[in-house]
Amino acid sequence: MSKPSIDRLAAAEKWLKDNDTRLKNERIAPISEQAKRAWALLRQESNVELGDLRLEGQATRRRVSLTASIDGADAGNALPVLSQGELHALALALFLPRATLDESPSASSSSTTRSRRWIPAKVDGLVTLLSEIAETRQVVAFSHDDRLAAAVRRSQTPARIYEVVRGPQSVVSISSVVDPSTRYISDADALCRDENVPDDVLRRTLPGLLRLAIEAAARDSFFAGRIVRGVPLTEVEETWDSAHGTSQRVSLAVHGEIRSLDHWLRTESRKKALGVATSGFHRSLRGLDVSDAVHHTRRVVDEIGGQAR
């Protein structure tokens, strides 16, 4: 082959390689951006800032290059400057955006964290990050210590916390430690017991809290029942979103569809609890003792929780 042809071919090959790298990097650009954002949430108390994520090299020498800066000064390669805990956080910051790309086949994202090595602020950052992902995905996180669970509790994220206990002969039991409706009820309880809360404030706040408790219980019950029967999550969510107001939501939980609750409203607790939750929202609680209101709501929440339709 003549020299000019070889030169042209070499130039063409170089062009291909350059553009291949450019295209690959364009493809990972959204991951790079999201990884930076994830890192911003997870780093919390670290002064390491993440730079660009780039794919480099060719054939058998391909690698990911990651740059970092410390207190604003360029630190070159990121990996050597990170601590063990930061490396864990970085792994998550890189993994989560990839797992949640639209192209990714996983509709749910599950992660096992070693939060034991994490400082509290990082665990809080992780909860914020997972809560954001949970707006569009199902997120399941496994942890060996209580810090992740504690961070979830204080973040008010509508998450369920389960405790998995491995008994003799490896018999595994799973129990719910805390769920949103129980949290609302216990908040309502505490509010009633606080003598320093002015009565009018208490009566204006309680209906809202109790309504949140009932709706949370209805949602859990409705979702659990449908998902167990194999109904796709998107469909369950659509049905749930089509319900407006507490009565319709309770109806979905108890009847499986939106219809009149007249027949269901035959017990005192149901009537009173739903009355507080629906009419008490705009006006304050009247004609009912505050602790009675909590008592009836707790019964209804238990009832709704006990039956998944």
Binding site: N196, V201, G208
Partner: protein, 114 residues
Amino acid sequence: MSDTRALLEQASGVLAGGGEHSNRMACWIARSALESCVDDLLLARQRAAESASMRSRLSVLQVAYEQQPEVAQRAEYAWSRLSRACHHHAYELSPTATGAEHLIGVVDSLAAHT
């Protein structure tokens, strides 16, 4: 200037000043700023409850600002982190300067709602 803003500026000042206990002191001041901020937020919705416990006030806040759930979420988060940061824990280090700065920032963003 409101109490909240004044306290937040004080917290930032203490933090910037440095010193052995400055991080924890800044957290104490930021915690007072948060209390004052929550009171302002409740007052704005005619639900003042200054002498109630913070847990109660945060519950009231959640219902009063139901249409803006981030308000109660941020307040709850800042309260629990600041309370932890303010007290000495046997197996936990003092809050770091960046941690304190972050929490002051959270209270500051909450004050923007008042």
